[in-house]
Symmetry: C3
Subunit: 350 residues, 3 copies
C-alpha cells in the first residue's frame, strides 16, 4: 500500500502532548521497533520493548508521555497518552486507503434473481449470485463472488468479502463483517440411525447474526434443526471456527481460531474461548467465563469462571496438576524408596 | 421461511394415535418447549424436558402416547408413538419448501467446456465452471459457483452446494450431498527432503466418494498419491474435517467436526469419531469402533472398541485415570506425610 | 485418468539396473502391492511390505536392487536403486497428463479491472476477479473462480487453484502453489475492549509468501496489523491451517493439517509441526525444532528440540510421563497399601 505522511501530518493525527527531535523523512511504512528502517514510524506499545527504543532506526517513534530519553539526529519522538491508541488512529487512516468506499450498484457480471431486493446504496460486486427473495440492505457490500441464498437478509452496512456464502433464509444484522470463505447456513450434522444407515434429520432452521459481529475466514455456522442458530451483537469470531446447529452465542463474546462448539450449546454474553478449544453439546458457558486455548469443555461452566485443560477444570487447579504431572517420575521413585524401606515389593519406576 | 400449517394439516402429517385440547392458531414456526410462543409447534423429544410441557406456550405439542397431562385453552396435544419421528416428518415437508426442486438446465452464466457431459435432467446453476471430460449425472444439482474439474464424475441425484470444488478425475457416487466450500481432490501433503529442500511428491491419484455420503462445509479431502482416497457409502462427515491422501473411510461412518485423519489410515465400517479427534497415519480403526471428542489416536483400534483421551486408550480406563489425575495434589501430600513419618527427605508438594 | 504405458515405456522412465520376468500387459494404473490387479504397476517402498511382493498381482513391480525373488508368469520385476524415486519419476509423467499446461490468456468470463497488469504468458481462467493494481506474473495460472485483490502481486509461475482468494496488497513469490479455497490476507483478529464492546484494531499490513511455498486447501493466512505476516521460501503448509497476523514462518518448514499459529509467533527455518498442533502467541520456535501432532506449545522452543504433549515438553520426557500416567491406578493402590501398613488413614484408590 502507498503510505506517505509527513511528520506534520502524523502529528496532526496523533495530537502529541510533546515532541522531541525532528525528521525530514516522509513516512512510508509502520514497523515494530526492532524491524523499523528510516522512513518507518514505530511505537512503544508494551513496556517490555523499552530497551529497543534507543536502538530503533524508525524516523518517528510514538512514546508514552513519561518516556525519558532523547532521539538521535533525524528522528522524532512524539509523546502521547497511549501510543497504541495513537497508532490505531494512524491505522484507521490507512484502512480507508486499503479498503476504499465501494461504488454503489450491481456489477454487470453478478447474477441477481428476479424478486431479490437490493438497496440503492448497496454494492454487489463481480460474479456474486443473489437468489430470489434475498434482501440486501443499505450500504451493504458484497465484494466479489459472494452467494446470498433464497430469502436471506443482509443488514445495512454489512460487508461480505470474496467467496462468502450465506445460504437460504439466514439473517445478518447491521455492520456485520464476514471475512473471505465464511459459510453461514450449511446444514446441521443430524442423523438418526435406522436399520444400519444414518438417515438425515432435516435441518430447516436458519442462522441469525446480530449487529457488529465479525466472523473470520473459512469459519462455518450451521443452520438450526428448526428455529435458529444465533450469534449475539458485537461478538467476534476468528478463522476456521465451527459453530454447530442450534448453538446460541451471546453478545460481545470472543472466539479464537479453530474453536469448535457442538450442537445446542449456549454461550452467555462476554464469553472468551482460546484457540482450538472444543465445547461439547447441550452445555451452558456462563456470562464472562473464559477458557484457555485447547480447553476441552464437557460440562457447564459458571459465570466468570476461568477453565483450562482437557477436560477443562478451574485454571489454577489445572496449572497445579500440570506441574505435579511433570513431577510423576520423581513421585514414582519416592514411592519405590518407601516400599523398599518397608520391605514391600517394589515396581520399577519406569 | 414461510411456514403455515393448520392443526388439521399437522395432524394429517403426524397421524396421532390420540389428541387432547384444540387450537385455532395457524402454525408459523417450530420451537423448543421453553422457547415456543403461540403459533409455534413444539415436541417432547427427551424425557428430561417433561416438566417444560406444562409451561410451554406452543399452540401444538407432539407428545409420547403415555403422556398424562391436559393442555390449557387454545393448545393442542397430539399423542404419537415417537415425537422425534413425528417432528422429522413435519421437517421433511418444510425441507421441500426450503430447497425447492431446481429447474433442469445450464444457467447461461455457467462456463462449460466443450466435451463435458451434462445429463438433461441435471441443473448447473449460475457461475459454475465445468472442465472438459467432466460428467454430470441425471438430476444432479450444482447450485452456484461450483467447480468440477477435468474428467470428474458427479453421480445421479448428487447435490453440490455453492462454492464446492471437485478437482480433476474425482468421482462422486449417487445422492452425494456436499455442503458449501467442500474441496474434493486437493493434492496430498507429500514431500521428500532432498538437499535441504522439500521436493514435491506428485499426487496423481484421485478421490472416490460412495453413494449417499454427506460432507460438511469447508471440509477437505485430498487426492491419493496414486490410486485413490475413498469414502464409503452412507458415511456422513461434518464441517472443517481433514481427510488426507490415501485414507480409506468405510461405509456408514460418522465423522464429527474438525476431525483430522492422516495419510493412508483406514476406517472400517460404522466407525464414529468425536469432534476434533486426530488420527495418525497408517492406522486401522476397526469396524464399529468409537473415539471420544478430541481423542488423539496413535495406534490401531480394535473393532467395537471405545477409546478416549490423548493418547487414546480404552474409555473406562481413560475416565479412571482422569479422575486420579485430578487427585494428584492429595497423593503428593500423602507421600510427603509417609516420608515424614519414616524420616525420609520430604519434597514440597507444590 | 487415462494411464497407458507399455513395459518398455516404464523401463525407459525408471532406467532399471536389472530386470526379471516379463509382462505383455499395458499398465493402466498404480497401486499398493496388496491392492494391485493385473495391469497395475506397484513398488516396494518400505521394507515392512516385503512379504507382499510374492503375493502381489501387479504386472510390473519396482524393487530394490538387492531383492532376491523371482516373478511368476506375466509379471516383470524392475530392479532400481530406489523404488520410491523411480515411482516418483513415473508419477511426474502422470502429473503432466493430470494438469496439462494451460493456454495463456484471460478467459472472457473473467472480470479484470482496468489497471491490473497481466503478463502475456499468464493464464487467467474462467470467472476469476482481478482488482485494480494487481500484478499477475509470467506463466502464473489462476485456474478458475480465483480472486486477486487491489495491488496484490502474484509471482511468476505461481498456480492458484479454484476458489483461492488473495486479498488486497498481498505478495506471492515465484512458483507458489495455492490449493483450492486458500485465503491469503483476511484481517487479523485484533480488538480493544472499550466500554463493554470489542472495538476493531485496524489490520492494515499484508501477507508475503516466498518462492516455492505450497499451501493446502482452505488454509487461512491473516494480514498483519501493520507491516507483514510472512512465510519463507520453500515452506509447505497443509490443509485447514490457521496462520494469524504478524506470524513469521521461516524457510523450508513443514506445517501439517489443522495446525494453528497465534499472532506474532516466529518459526525459524526448518521447523516441523505435526497435525493439529497449536502454538501460542509471541513465541519463538527455534531452527529445526519439531513438535508432535496435537502438541500445545505455550513457551519458546529451542533450536533442534523435539517437543510433544499439551503443554508441550521434550519428547522423551513426555513419553515417560505418559507411561507413568497410565500407571496411576497402580500407584494409588501402592500408596494405600503403604499407608495401611503404617496405620495411616487410607483413601479409596478410586
Amino acid at each position: 500500500m502507498q503510505v506517505s505522511f509527513s511528520a506534520a501530518e502524523i502529528a496532526a493525527i496523533v495530537q502529541p502532548t510533546a515532541s522531541r527531535g525532528a525528521t525530514t523523512r516522509v513516512i512510508r511504512g509502520l514497523a515494530a521497533l526492532a524491524d523499523a528502517a528510516p522512513g518507518d514510524l514505530s511505537f512503544l506499545g508494551n513496556a517490555k520493548y523499552k530497551p529497543e527504543v534507543a536502538r530503533t532506526r524508525a524516523s518517528i517513534v510514538l512514546l508514552p508521555a513519561d518516556y525519558a530519553g532523547e532521539p538521535p539526529a533525524d528522528q522524532l519522538y512524539l509523546l502521547v497518552a497511549n501510543p497504541s491508541v495513537a497508532l490505531a488512529r494512524i491505522c484507521a487512516r490507512l484502512e480507508q486507503a486499503l479498503w476504499p468506499r465501494p461504488v454503489p450498484g450491481v456489477h454487470p457480471s453478478a447474477v441477481v434473481a428476479p424478486g431479490a431486493q437490493i438497496a440503492a446504496s448497496a454494492t454487489v460486486g463481480p460474479l456474486c449470485v443473489i437468489e430470489a427473495g434475498a434482501v440486501i440492505g443499505e450500504r451493504a457490500q458484497l465484494q466479489a463472488q459472494v452467494f446470498v441464498g433464497r430469502g436471506a437478509i443482509i443488514g445495512e452496512g454489512s460487508w461480505l468479502m470474496p467467496g462468502v456464502i450465506v445460504e437460504a433464509e439466514c439473517v445478518l444484522g447491521r455492520r456485520v463483517r464476514l471475512q473471505p470463505g465464511v459459510v453461514v447456513g450449511a446444514d446441521g450434522f443430524g442423523y438418526e440411525f435406522v436399520q444400519g444407515r444414518h438417515e438425515k434429520v432435516p435441518q430447516v432452521g436458519h442462522v441469525e447474526i446480530g449487529d457488529d459481529v465479525e466472523i473470520g475466514a473459512n469459519t462455518t455456522l450451521d443452520r438450526a434443526r428448526f428455529s435458529r442458530t444465533a450469534v449475539g451483537e458485537g461478538t467476534k469470531i476468528d478463522n476456521l471456527v465451527q459453530i454447530a446447529h442450534n448453538v446460541r452465542v451471546g453478545r460481545h463474546c470472543l472466539i479464537c481460531a479453530q474453536v469448535g462448539i457442538s450442537g445446542s450449546t449456549v454461550l452467555e454474553d462476554y464469553v472468551v474461548l482460546g484457540g482450538q478449544a472444543g465445547i461439547g453439546g447441550h452445555i451452558t458457558i456462563g456470562k464472562g467465563a473464559k477458557a484457555g486455548g485447547r480447553a476441552g469443555i464437557t460440562t457447564d461452566v459458571s459465570a466468570g469462571a476461568f477453565v483450562n485443560g482437557n477436560p477443562a477444570i478451574p485454571y489454577m487447579l489445572e496449572r497445579r496438576i500440570a506441574v505435579l504431572t511433570q513431577r510423576l517420575p520423581d513421585l514414582f521413585k519416592r514411592v519405590d524408596a518407601i516400599a523398599d524401606q518397608l520391605g514391600l515389593a517394589k515396581k520399577s519406576s519406569s
